[in-house]
């Protein structure tokens, strides 16, 4: 048998049948559901008089529209409320497990599923959300789908898919102090571009990736989609298996050793071929700050804002000019001199316990700068919030002037009440800095939790080493 990549193995083990035209019917082990992309799928099922194929394969929780303050009061915006209510009633009537808004297990789908052990190595996992790539960190084939496909998976447990090409991104060597998974993935996107991974399934490899915790690996895979790749995987190793062990949805005693043996196959064979390979040296990566309106517009904290005139490609040059205008920045200015109005620590990229600990360590005993209008921390799930409170992290934040919120997507995309005002500048740990993403006219700079925390104290971007 010829050598296979991790992606080949995941793909091959899920093909139900191959169609004559090169597409395959792919079996889906797990589907995650949230309120935004599911109502029309359930409506479609009902209209066609169909039932879910395998109820237990689905897990739902509301996240995009939920308020992060005063939960007891419910959702103020009637349209948001309708969407969450619709999810509740759809899950109730079809019999799908849902962690509702008042459940301690509620949170951002991509945080909740790994936390529950619902994301497991060797499986296929989908969700009507592009950041489903997150789950690839477990040696899982995970990708975002549209609402019609959500309906397709509900009704058939399968998807019609065409295989992507294989791409390997290696980060070799050891990361410098203060450099986190977020900086690594931003540096990767800066290098390959936001369309660099289009048509590929990426495997992240190399010792710098290996050395990351599962939280860090999820941050990396989470943003594979920002490099254009629907899926971003990392091979299974001891770190993966340790993380999965003992979680509510993980295999129980009687299946555990069989599962571990099976999962250990999910890595790329030594001589497997990739259609494209990109190599980065970990030692070159510094803490990153995005300066523009696309995640590829990223620079290191000690750099200056780039000059569009130096860009030869006219389309790119236009894009850079438009970005600078929108961001209210001028070329040549050191990014460390750019002051910040709002700090947001949260989202499916960086709202896990490790992220919150990293931020707490930076701000402990200090005060949020008086020039900062708002600084908020939004844990990724109710359980993470509980854990952080057990460790006293909430107090650390509250004493420095941060707000401590209820779990959800929050200011990552501003579908609930948390949003930027026009022209407000935000240091954000989320994954997208598109125009208007965090509120119309809002200006987003993507950074790691430690860098966001540091910006909150300093009032401007600053190298984490200097705080």
């Amino acid at each position: 048998m010829s050598a296979k990549t991790l992606y080949d193995k995941l793909w091959d083990s899920h093909v139900v049948r191959e169609n004559d035209d090169g597409t395959s019917l792919l079996y889906i082990d797990r589907q995650l559901i949230h309120e935004v992309t599911s109502p029309q799928a359930f409506e479609g099922l009902r209209m066609a008089n169909r039932r879910p194929w395998k109820l237990t394969a689905n897990l739902a929780t509301p996240d995009h529209n939920v308020p992060t303050t005063d939960r007891e009061k419910g959702i103020a915006d009637p349209i948001s409320k309708l969407q969450v209510d619709t999810l509740d009633s759809n899950c109730d009537s079809f019999g799908i497990t849902e962690f509702k808004m008042d459940d301690i297990r509620q949170g951002i789908v991509h945080v909740v599923s790994p936390e529950q052990g619902a994301t497991l190595p060797g499986m296929t996992l989908v969700c009507g959300d592009s950041h489903t790539s997150t789950h690839g960190a477990f040696g899982t084939l995970a990708f975002g789908i549209g609402t019609s496909e959500v309906e397709h998976v509900l009704a058939t447990q399968c998807l019609i898919q065409k295989k992507s090409k294989n791409m390997r991104v290696e980060v070799n060597g050891q990361l410098n102090a203060g450099v986190t998974a977020k900086d690594v993935i931003l540096a990767i996107i800066g290098k390959i571009g936001t369309a660099g991974g289009t048509g590929f399934a990426i495997e992240f490899a190399g010792d710098a990736i290996r050395s990351l915790s599962m939280e860090g690996r999820m941050t990396i895979s989470n943003m594979a989609i920002e490099a254009g790749a629907r899926a971003g995987m990392i091979a299974v190793d001891d770190t993966t298996i340790e993380y999965v062990k003992g979680r509510p949805y993980s295999p129980k005693e009687e299946h555990w050793s069989q599962a571990v043996e099976y999962w250990r196959n999910f890595y790329s064979d030594a001589d497997a071929e990739f259609d494209k390979t990109v190599i980065l040296d970990a030692a070159d990566i510094k803490p990153q700050v995005t300066w523009g309106t696309s995640p590829e517009m990223t620079i290191a904290i000690d750099e200056t804002i780039p000059d569009p005139e130096m860009e030869l490609d006219p389309v790119k040059q236009e894009g850079m000019k438009a970005a600078l205008k929108y961001m209210g920045l001028t070329a040549g200015k050191p990014i460390s001199e750019v002051s910040v109005d709002v700090v947001f620590i949260g989202s499916c990229t960086n709202s896990r316990i490790e992220d919150i600990r990293a931020a707490a360590e930076v701000v402990k005993g200090k005060k949020v700068s008086s020039t900062i209008t708002q600084a908020i921390i939004v844990p990724g799930s109710g359980l993470i919030k509980q854990q952080a409170e057990k460790e006293g992290l909430d107090k650390i934040f509250l004493e420095t002037g941060f707000e401590w919120r209820e779990p959800g997507c929050s200011m990552c995309l501003a579908m609930n009440a948390d949003r930027l005002e026009p022209q407000q500048r935000c240091a954000s740990t989320s994954n997208r800095n598109f125009e208007g993403r965090q509120g119309q006219g809002g200006r987003t700079h993507l950074v790691s939790p430690a860098m966001a925390a540091a910006a909150a104290i300093a009032g401007h971007f600053i190298n984490i080493k200097e705080v």
Binding site: L25, E43, M123, G128, T156, K252, Q258, V315, G319, G436
Partner: protein, 215 residues
């Protein structure tokens, strides 16, 4: 799903790379639980001067006269000419729903983001990938000739121009056979897959031995 066979229409040139789905349909409109009615909010932040929210009367909002879709010469466009990486960003199917609801059935670009590209076919939209140089030519031709119409023929996989007075366009495009077939027939993919129910059950039976913890 509505069939797509052949169409002749005005093409509107949207000269921007990396148009993301947030730009195509801003998130506040994702709160709807319906599939239709997104057309008036297509490209909302570029089309109007104020901030749009669901439930507003769009006919009363101040429009941005500089935005290409608002130019009267493109009022009836049903083809969108676009640049690289069109439809990047979130997986929201509301983006193709909004395009379709507005009246767009064909999008021509040098490249598309994967999920968006996929979502188009589920909603009767035809995304066509052409080399950059051809796209440049189309942009130039459309801009230079008011009222210029393109004919997109899916059966023949061809784009042609019917107006003889200007440059004769005759472009062939590639498309996956299965996708072409589904679009031409307006087929329901779920029904097709359920036709293979026996295969799915056989796969599950086999997998239950290998990964019993998932069953």
């Amino acid at each position: 799903m509505e069939k797509f066979t052949k169409m002749t229409a005005i093409a509107v040139p949207l000269d921007r790379a990396n148009v993301d789905t947030d730009a195509i349909i801003p998130k506040q409109f994702l709160k709807s639980i319906k599939r239709s009615g997104f057309g008036p909010n297509l490209f909302d932040e570029w089309r109007y001067k104020d901030h749009g929210e669901p439930g507003m009367d769009n006919s009363k909002r101040p429009i941005n006269p500089d935005f290409i879709l608002n130019k009267s010469r493109y009022a009836n466009a049903r083809i969108l000419l676009a640049r690289d990486n069109f439809g990047c960003g979130s997986s929201r199917e509301h983006a193709p729903w909004a395009l379709e609801d507005y009246g767009i059935r064909v999008i021509i670009a040098p490249s598309f983001a994967d999920i968006f590209y996929n979502n188009c076919f589920k909603n009767g939209l035809l995304p066509i990938i052409l080399p950059e140089t051809m796209i440049d030519e189309l942009f130039a031709t459309v801009a230079a000739n008011e009222g210029f119409q393109l004919t997109v023929d899916l059966e023949q996989q061809k784009i042609t121009s019917e107006s003889s007075s200007v440059a004769n366009i005759d472009i062939s495009f590639e498309l996956d056979k299965f996708r072409r077939h589904c679009l031409l027939e307006g087929l329901d993919e779920i029904g097709l897959t359920l036709g293979h129910a026996e295969d799915i059950r056989a796969y599950e039976k086999k997998q239950k031995e290998i990964t019993p913890w998932l069953y």
